[in-house]
C-alpha cells in the first residue's frame, strides 16, 4: 500500500460521483481536443506557410486577373527565386456539389515555388510533365473519389467553357501528391495552364495570381516594394503580400471560427471547474473525521495536503487523458471517412501540451482549497465532529 493507493481509494469510494465528475472532465477534454484540432487544421495553411513565399494578386481584389506576361517580368526582380502563375479553374466532379479545388499551373514553376511542400513520385512527375492532359491530384481528393494513377476522369468548370461550348474537360491522373508535413493540405488538383488556356473559350492570356519564392525572407519587403511599383499606373496594378498574411485573410472569410471555438472550450472548462471544484470540496468535507484520524495516527499535515492535491490531479488527468484519447480515435475516424473535406485532423504535440497545461491548472484550482482545509484541520475539532 502506498499514498497513491490511498488517494486512488479515496477518489473511487463513491462510485457514482466519481464517474459523473470523470465523465464531465472527459467530455470537456474531448470537446477541447476535437475543436482545437479542427481549428489547427483550418489554420494549418497559415501555420505551414513559408516565410520565403509571397502571393501577388490584382490590387482591386484577388478575383481580378493579371496578365501572364507579368510572370516573365517578375522573374527578373532581384531576390526572387521562382514565380508560378496560378489560375482558378472552378472545377467539380460530375455533380456541382462535388467541388474540386483545381488550379491551372506551370508544373516546373509550381515545383520551383511549392516543391518544398509537395511530395510526389519522380516518375509520376515526369509523366505529368509529358502529358498536357495530365493532372496532379492531392491525396485527399484522390481518396475522396477513389482516383488512381492512370484513371481518365472528367472535370467540369463552373467558370470556363471549351471552344465547343462544353464545360467538361477530360484529364489523365498522372500523379498523386502528399504533403511533406502531416498537416499539409492535399485537397488541390493541378492541371497544365498551357492546355487549359488553349482549350478554354474565354480568351486572353490571363492568370489569377502568382506564387513567388524569394531567395531570403529578409528580402521580402524589398521584393514586395519593387514588384508592386513595377506595375503602378498600368491597367493591372498588383498587390503582393506574404503567404502567411494571404492565407490568414482567406480563413478570415470563413468567419471567426477561432473565437467560436475558444468560447465553447472556455465554457466547457468553466463548467467542469465548478463541478470538479464542488465535488472535491464536498469529498474532503465528508472525510473531515478520517483526516483527523490520519493526523492522530501521525500523518504529517503536509502529507495529507499532498494527498488531497494528488486526488484532484488523478481525477483531472484520468478524465483528461481519456478525453484526449477518445478525441484522437474520433478524429482518426473522421480522417478515414472519404467524404471528409478538411486536411488531416490530428492532436498535435502543441495541442496535447496545452491540454496538459490546462489539466495542471484545473487540478490546482480544484484541489488547492480542500487541500489547504485538510492541511489546517485541527485534530480535536475534526474528531469531535464525528
Amino acid at each position: 500500500m502506498s499514498d497513491l493507493y490511498l488517494v486512488y481509494k479515496n477518489l473511487t469510494r463513491k462510485k457514482l460521483r466519481f464517474f459523473l465528475t470523470l465523465f464531465a472532465i472527459f467530455i470537456a477534454f474531448l470537446i477541447y481536443g476535437a475543436l482545437t484540432a479542427f481549428d489547427t487544421a483550418l489554420n494549418a495553411g497559415v501555420e505551414l506557410s513559408a516565410d520565403n513565399r509571397l502571393v501577388t494578386v490584382n490590387k482591386i481584389n484577388f478575383t481580378q486577373p493579371l496578365p501572364i506576361s507579368y510572370v516573365r517580368k517578375v522573374e527578373t526582380i532581384k531576390g526572387i527565386a521562382a514565380v508560378v502563375p496560378l489560375n482558378w479553374f472552378g472545377g467539380y466532379y460530375k455533380d456541382p456539389q462535388q467541388q474540386v479545388l483545381t488550379f491551372a499551373v506551370d508544373p516546373p514553376k509550381l515545383m520551383a515555388v511549392y516543391g518544398d511542400d509537395l511530395a510526389i513520385d519522380e516518375d509520376h512527375y515526369k509523366n505529368w510533365l509529358k502529358n498536357q492532359q495530365g493532372i496532379l491530384v492531392g491525396k485527399s481528393v484522390a481518396d475522396m473519389y477513389g482516383w488512381k494513377v492512370g484513371d481518365r476522369i472528367p472535370l467540369n468548370s463552373n467558370i470556363f467553357s471549351k471552344r465547343d461550348g462544353s464545360t467538361s474537360w477530360e484529364f489523365d491522373v498522372e500523379g498523386i501528391y502528399t504533403g511533406k508535413r502531416p498537416q499539409a493540405d492535399t485537397n488541390g488538383v493541378y492541371i497544365h495552364y498551357k492546355y487549359f488556356n488553349e482549350t478554354q473559350s474565354f480568351g486572353g492570356n490571363y492568370i489569377g495570381w502568382m506564387g513567388i519564392k524569394t531567395t531570403d525572407p529578409a528580402l521580402n519587403e524589398q521584393v514586395i516594394k519593387t514588384l508592386d511599383e513595377m506595375f503602378v499606373n498600368t491597367p493591372f496594378e498588383t498587390e503582393t503580400v506574404p503567404e502567411k498574411a494571404f492565407n490568414k485573410s482567406f480563413i478570415a472569410q470563413l468567419g471567426n471560427i477561432g473565437l467560436i471555438i475558444s468560447s465553447v472550450v472556455f465554457a466547457a472548462f468553466f463548467i467542469i471547474l465548478v463541478i470538479v471544484g464542488f465535488s472535491m470540496a464536498l469529498a474532503i468535507r465528508e472525510r473531515t473525521g478520517e483526516i483527523g484520524v490520519m493526523k492522530t495516527l501521525g500523518f504529517p499535515s503536509q502529507r495529507i495536503f499532498k494527498m488531497v492535491l494528488m486526488e484532484s490531479f488523478m481525477l483531472t488527468f484520468l478524465g483528461g487523458s481519456i478525453g484526449l484519447l477518445v478525441a484522437t480515435l474520433f478524429l482518426g475516424f473522421l480522417n478515414e471517412a472519404p467524404q471528409f473535406p478538411i486536411a488531416d485532423l490530428i492532436l498535435t504535440k502543441g495541442i496535447i501540451l496545452q491540454a496538459v497545461g490546462v489539466m495542471i491548472v484545473l487540478s490546482l484550482i480544484t484541489g488547492i482549497i480542500p487541500a489547504v482545509n485538510a492541511l489546517k484541520l485541527n485534530i480535536v475539532t475534526a474528531l469531535s465532529r464525528r
Binding site: 500500500m1 490511498l6 493526523k295 495516527l297 501521525g298 500523518f299 504529517p300 499535515s301 503536509q302 474528531l383
Partner: protein
C-alpha cells in the same frame, strides 16, 4: 508490575474560551503514569476525560503546565514534531473504531506503517502478526464495514499495536459494544498489557471495564480521586 516513569504531568491546566465565557477543564493537574501501567480513567460525561487523553496523546496542547514523556518535554513540540512523536510512541483506539471505510481490514492495520521506513515485505509481516494477535487472520481481506462492532474494534486494536508503540490510548473502547464483546476487547487490552508490556491509558465510564485495569483514577470537576483496586 510497573517500571519507570513514562508520563509526568506538572501543573497542567486546560481551558477553552466559548465566546466571552472561559471554561476551565483542568487547573493545576498533577499526575504520573509508569511504564507498564494499565490505567483506567473514569468520570461523568463532560468531566474532561477525552480532553485529558488528547493532551496525553499530543493532539491537543495544555493552556499551562508541562507534559513530560520518557524524560523529555512534549507539550512544547511543534505540530509536525508531535505527529512524528505520536507515530513512534502511541497507538490510538477510539469508541467508534475510526477505521477507513475504503480500505479492507489488513490495509487499515497497515496504515500506521506507512509512517515507518519498513519495506513492503516487513509491513506485510507485521500486519499479519497483528491480525493474528487479535484473531482476525481469516478476515484480513474483509471490508470493515461488513464486520461486527467487536471485529472492527479488534481491527482498530491491531492498527494500534502494529507499529509496536510503548503506549496505547483508548477513549471509551467498549462504549459502542455489548457486554460480551466488551469483555473480549477488555481481555485483549489486558493481554497486551500483561504479556506485551504495553502501557495502557483507557478512558471509560463502564465500571466493569475498570476491573481489567491495574489502577483507576476518578476524574471529577477537573480533579483526581484515586481508588486502589487492590483493596
Amino acid at each position: 508490575m510497573t517500571g519507570g516513569k513514562l508520563y509526568d504531568l506538572r501543573g497542567v491546566s486546560k481551558s477553552f474560551t466559548k465566546g466571552k465565557e472561559k471554561i476551565t477543564i483542568f487547573n493545576d493537574l498533577n499526575m504520573s503514569i509508569s511504564e507498564g501501567d494499565f490505567l483506567a480513567i473514569m468520570g461523568p460525561s463532560g468531566s474532561g476525560k477525552t480532553t485529558l487523553l488528547n493532551l496525553l496523546g499530543g493532539v491537543d496542547k495544555p493552556t499551562g503546565g508541562e507534559i513530560w514523556f520518557d524524560d523529555s518535554r512534549v507539550d512544547n513540540l511543534s505540530e509536525s514534531q508531535l505527529a512524528k512523536w505520536r507515530a513512534n510512541n502511541i497507538g490510538f483506539i477510539f469508541q467508534f473504531y475510526n477505521l477507513m471505510p475504503m480500505l479492507n481490514a489488513e490495509r487499515n492495520v497497515e496504515l500506521p506503517l506507512l509512517l515507518t521506513k519498513l519495506s513492503a515485505k516487513e509491513r506485510k509481516k507485521n500486519v499479519a502478526a497483528a491480525m493474528e494477535l487479535v484473531g482476525l487472520s481469516d478476515r484480513a481481506k474483509h471490508m470493515t464495514s461488513e464486520m461486527s462492532g467487536g471485529q472492527q474494534q479488534r481491527v482498530a486494536i491491531a492498527r494500534a499495536i502494529v507499529s509496536d508503540p510503548k503506549l496505547i490510548l483508548c477513549d471509551e473502547p467498549t462504549g459502542d459494544l455489548d457486554r460480551k464483546t466488551a469483555d473480549e476487547i477488555l481481555s485483549m487490552l489486558q493481554l497486551l498489557n500483561r504479556e506485551f508490556g504495553k502501557t495502557i491509558v483507557m478512558v471509560t465510564h463502564d465500571p466493569s471495564a475498570a476491573n481489567y485495569a491495574k489502577r483507576v483514577l476518578h476524574l471529577d470537576k477537573g480533579e483526581f480521586v484515586e481508588k486502589d483496586l487492590v483493596a
